[in-house]
Amino acid sequence: MQAQTSPVLSLRGIVKTFPGVRALDGVQMDLYPGQVTALVGENGAGKSTIVKILTGIYQPDEGKIEVDGVETRFPTAQAAGQAGVTAIHQETVLFDELSVAENIFIGHAPRNRFGLIDRRAMRTRAREILRGIGADLNPGVKLRDLGIASKHLVAIARALSIDARVVIMDEPTAALSHKEIAELYELVEKLKAQGKAILFISHKFDEIFRIADRWTVFRDGQFVGEGLMAETNEADLVRMMVGRSVDQIYPKRPARIGKPALTVAGYCHPTEFDEISFTLHEGEILGFYGLVGAGRSEVMQSLFGITQPSKGACRMGGDVRVIRSTSQAVDAGIVYVPEDRGRQGTVKGLPIFQNVTLPSLDRTSRAGFLRMAEEFALAREYTRRLDLRAASLDQDVGLLSGGNQQKVVIAKWLATKPRVIILDEPTKGIDIGSKATVHDFMSELAAEGLAVIMVSSEIPEVLGMSDRVIVMREGRIAAEFEGDAMTPENLVRAAVGITGSENGAAA
């Protein structure tokens, strides 16, 4: 129906690779004037990468960008701005100590004839732009005195001040209240009326169906499909988001689930999570699925004593307690393999064997004095079980590949003989071979009676490895699935907040 209008901006065959990852693999996208296109996809589908390519932060390895049918390139962020592409990020960079007007015009302020910033003109134009989006803000006020929603409006005004033709909104409602979201919708309508093309990235399906005209789905860096919102429904979109075949074989062994190893009751945190309660059993692999930012890592880190819950307690064996430090967690037998390996996992600069023995020094030493031979023996025992590839145990851990560093972190924890092991995105960004080793090992651990929690954003991994899956959304437990209910559709529905599952079951 609307096919007669030609796109303002088109992407064709865009490829972007990072070391070890093909983030985008020949994707395409069209943005039309006066229309909102929703970009939908799971974590890691390539949404952020495409935004960075559109705003000149990344350069595509292959493919072309066309503006009004003319091929172009965005070598810098300025070039993208000059071509009329602007983005309102999840956290747009604004300057708290500058005024609203200065924030709007930073980098392209109107000048007077001496080449100095023309403050009066800047203020007048800022007021015009703000009025245009229905924001009644004083341009002279400092940004830090504004609330989040008003800051958002300033970010939008900034985007419009460069006379944008394409506006990218990356999760614009993430930090907004209901009322503010309604105002944002009105604003989007205004922008549409002005003929701007809008790329709208959101995980929330109600929003997408409320304001988008078109959709585009990416999955694992590939283009899956596009079309008009009027001609699709939630079930179809969910299926396209997750619809890969579970082609990898997961070495999950049948579990012999034992007694409760860890019971968490009513864990709360002022900002990150709320009312988290669950029970983990010996021999069980419990999957935690959710979108990025759902609060999974935060819950796990508070169980490990990095942060402290404001309320709640956990029970291990007989004792009810709150873990208040990582050393208490290790003593209690809870260990945590962090997602951020480089910063939180390995101590680069120390050799492999010292990384492995770091939490076990009490066992390898005598009266506080190191015994190197014991350390090498312990490190050898556990790195061998994980099939570590390294030149020597005395080698700096920072020289290892990501997958082998992960093996060192896991070996470090196994050497402490834990009762509960929490793995946060254990295979993110590591090579296939190491992935298989890590998966193998997880099953082996569970078979030996260890209680395992696996936080993962990869649906095949969650479904392939877990005995049970808890889905978190916006800091709360949204759903729990077991057995036949563990389907990709159910997980995604719970994670994005679609209630009811009859459509998913029918599909």
């Binding site: 101590v347 770091l358 939490p359 030493s365 145990l393």
Partner: protein, 330 residues
């Protein structure tokens, strides 16, 4: 290559500790120290006199005592710039007690106690409140010395008991001074602490990556606190030696010590941002510093020029490996 599924053998070490030591910073320092020793003995006929050499050790023994503790503190990623001021405060406290008639053992305990208290204060602010060490200790540097100035004004404490003079002026055997013995014992003690204990290992881990150390179950705050405590304690020891040697306390005592201590530590090959270094390096660096200042002194080089030479030496020795690497890469 054979592909054995599990348990491929990984050797413990590829290079032996001995061959590693040959290529180390410490080996370079040793060569520098020997070279300076030889040059000095050629330049001045008085250099090789045992009593002169013994006297020369006072150039570095007091600073080096603190430098050992400071080295571990810096390896763990912190720094303490208040050590000179701690000496001033500890010396002042001893002076006050002396005027009240306290005997030598009380003076010694007071010196050590003041050092510990100052270290605890620094440690609380840094490890408990999470304030940056450099800012905290610049602050306490003014604070501690300020108290000395309030107590003493333009005056000085003199008239320490004769038995107190033993620490800074006494000899254990022939030319071997008490301070030399304290220096050697401190070197041994801190060497063992850093290189042979769990505590030392934790200091390295924290200096390389404090976050990962915490994520490995290490009580990071506790280790950092203890290190400030030890640095304070060694400042107290140095305060006893220095006060005893000078026989008096003025509020300007040990002024600028902190920079000389840090210079020794850095010259000793300790990474200023933490993570690596050794006590052997610090010992050698202290010897190098002592030999250079003593040699220049014998040649009647004025103090200002001497500080220029020491500064140039520091920069040269630090820059050398970097320049060497750049040259080799072309």
């Amino acid at each position: 290559m054979t592909t054995i599924q599990t348990g491929r053998h990984i050797p413990d070490r590829l290079t032996s500790p001995f061959s590693r030591a040959l290529k180390s910073w410490e080996a370079l320092l040793l060569i520098v120290a020997v070279a300076i020793f030889v040059l000095n003995s050629l330049a001045s006929p008085y250099f090789l006199d045992p009593w002169n050499l013994s006297d020369a050790t006072f150039n570095f023994t007091e600073k080096a005592m603190i430098a050992f503790a400071m080295a571990i503190l810096i390896i763990a990623g912190d720094i303490d710039l208040s050590v000179g001021a701690i000496i001033a405060l500890a010396s002042t406290m001893m002076g006050v007690a002396m005027t009240l008639g306290a005997p030598t053992p009380v003076l010694v305990l007071l010196g050590l106690g003041t050092g510990l208290a100052c270290g605890a204060f620094n440690g609380l602010l840094v490890a408990r409140l999470g304030l940056p060490a450099i800012v905290v200790t610049i602050g306490t540097m003014s604070l501690f010395r300020g108290i000395s100035y309030i107590v003493l004004g333009d005056g000085a404490f003199t008239g320490y008991p004769a038995s107190f003079a033993w620490f800074g002026q006494g000899y254990v055997f022939w030319v071997i001074t008490v301070e030399m013995v304290i220096f050697a014992l401190a070197a041994l003690g801190f060497g063992i602490l850093l290189h042979r204990t769990n505590f030392g290992r934790m200091a390295y881990a924290i200096g390389n990556n404090a976050t990962a150390a915490r994520f490995s179950g290490i009580r990071v705050g506790r280790v950092r606190f203890i290190l400030f405590l030890l640095t304070g304690l060694m400042s107290g020891v140095a305060a006893i030696c220095l006060t005893s040697r000078l026989g008096s306390t003025r509020p300007s005592i040990a002024f600028g010590f902190e920079l000389e201590v840090v210079t020794i530590v850095v010259l000793g090959g300790v990474a200023i941002l933490g993570g690596s270094g050794s006590i052997t390096g610090v010992v050698l660096a202290a010897l190098v510093m002592g030999l250079v200042t003593f040699g220049l002194g014998l040649l009647n080089v004025p103090g200002i020029v001497m500080s220029i030479v020491v500064g140039a030496l520091l920069i040269a020795v630090i820059a050398l490996p970097r320049l060497w690497a750049m040259l080799r890469r072309g």
